[in-house]
Amino acid sequence: MGIEVRIPTILRTYTDGAKQVEGTGSTLGELFADLDRKHGGLRDRLVDDDGLRRFVNVYLNDEDVRFLAGLETPVKDGDTVTVLPAVAGGAG
């Protein structure tokens, strides 16, 4: 059993259309590296040099990982990670 990762519509081009994929790792950062081996390019859409991309929300089970430890957040088999693009904008 691995870690279930739910992929939003806009990123399913990296997963052959799959709504959820599985990965392994002991931290969120390791999980994303593992996913990138199977789904090349996905990691770049989630993280940049500074960590998690600002307009991507990542949740471990039902908690926003920004309120946990970001990419250092520990993950384990049986967890569910959900990725949602932030809904944002405005007159600017």
Binding site: D62, L84, A86, A91
Partner: protein, 135 residues
């Protein structure tokens, strides 16, 4: 084309008026694949700003999960501009992340009339579409 009921249309405008001069934002959920908005969900603008909006991340998670459980999708994503026209800004275009959604913009810059317009925003390209209001 966006087809929307009077009731949902008026709820969006009322929300935009209520939060003016800050931007208001929210979602209309509808049956997955149906393209008809049915359920009004006002969202918290976590930025509480007259020039920017962002859904509160925890609230977004709960609402998105609820839609999935009900076999719904975000048919409309709406927000208001409070001092400018109801046209997507560069910020709106760069953060648009639901290619299947109708992006509704309401302008509350005029106290008497509300501009209510709808767009598709896909891969950085904006296409305005007609809005049909039905009973």
């Amino acid at each position: 084309m966006l087809t929307i009921t009077h009731e949902l249309h008026d709820k969006i405008v009322a929300h935009a008026r209520r939060d003016h001069p800050d931007e208001a934002c929210g979602v209309l959920a509808g049956r997955a694949g149906g393209d008809r908005p049915e359920r009004f969900i006002a969202m918290t603008n976590a930025e509480r700003s007259p020039t920017f909006y962002r859904f509160d991340s925890g609230e977004q998670f709960r609402v998105w999960r609820e839609m999935e459980d009900r076999d719904e999708e975000p048919v409309v994503i709406y927000h208001s501009h409070t001092a400018t026209e109801a046209y997507p800004s560069r910020t709106d275009i760069s953060y648009a992340s639901e290619p299947g959604a109708h992006y509704v913009l309401v302008s509350t810059r005029d106290a008497d009339t509300a501009e209510f317009r709808s767009y598709r925003i896909v891969d950085g390209t904006v296409a305005e579409e007609p809005v049909t209001v039905v009973e």
